[in-house]
Symmetry: C2
Subunit: 146 residues, 2 copies
DNA sequence: TTTAATTCCTACTAAAAGAGTAGGATTTAT
DNA sequence: ATAAATCCTACTCTTTTAGTAGGAATTAAA
């Protein structure tokens, strides 16, 4: 029941981009140094974010990445689901569609999984990237060392 | 961000015990046939439940397992945490104790993880085994085939 | 008192997922 | 031209997951 580093690193990368690529662009190297994440690995994570339309890139020297969305228009849920897949605790709950599990008609645990799933999604869909950026900037203001 | 089979099978085993070992005891074989879970594997899962004091056993022929707690006094959260470990989405949040992560002072994502964690635990702590048993018996009543 | 049914215990294993490494191709500002 | 960057994809090492296997100990019933 853990998030992988993809989700964790990816969210940090998005916050980093929001703060440090406000009206320019920043390189992978740049982010990876600040966030202590391997360059190569971060590259793969940002590729996913780009594929989802959350960041844009410029190639070549002095190139880099910046956000492709407004921070108020993207939620933590959008970011985590892009990186982790759905946030359901088990695969047998699909809300509108068919359910995979053959026992589903008779299986009562699915109600538990559904409620967990709903509560997780409710939390992450109600935190925007902007919320985190503001909180981060508040923290940074008190720690001028970094 | 998935539960393992331990948590899923274990919860089903607890429901099965609550329903089928009301005033007797039932064997692993019995449960495993009903629930379609490998006998050997289920044995290991039930060993964990026993170690946590949720089930008791009688050895020897005609032996078996039964619940060691009242269904109203045990929550889904108790069961899942015993089988899966804590239900936090990342390891860097410990509520009262020290936090592992060295960046925690400066890291804003921990607020997200804390909120997810709280919401998951809130859900599972507010569903008792009794709730699931009642729901299951309601379903079974409409499906006399099984 | 033997036998069969059962829990108990622990070691092993195959497959998948997680977390990167590695390195070359392409693009572009200087 | 060159250096700095993204882009792309294959490989690898480690850990976790989901079991399998099999023998020892216990006990009700024949």
């Amino acid at each position: 029941m853990k998030l992988s580093t993809k989700g964790r690193y990816g969210l940090r990368a998005m916050i980093d981009l929001a703060i440090n690529a406000k009206d320019s662009q920043i390189s992978i190297k740049n982010i990876s140094e600040r966030q202590n994440i391997s360059e190569n690995y971060l590259e793969q994570i940002i590729a996913i974010l780009k594929k989802n339309g959350f960041v844009k890139s410029c190639r070549g020297a002095q190139g880099g990445y910046s956000l492709n969305v407004e921070t108020v228009n993207i939620s933590v849920g959008d970011i985590l689901r892009a990186l982790e897949g759905d946030l359901n605790p088990v695969d047998c709950i699909t809300v509108n569609d068919e359910v995979q599990c053959s026992e589903s008609e008779l299986c009562v645990t699915k109600y538990v999984w559904k409620r967990i799933s709903d509560s997780i999604n409710d939390v992450v869909d109600n935190i925007t990237l902007e919320d985190l950026v503001q909180e981060q900037e508040r923290i940074d203001a008190c720690n001028p060392s970094k």
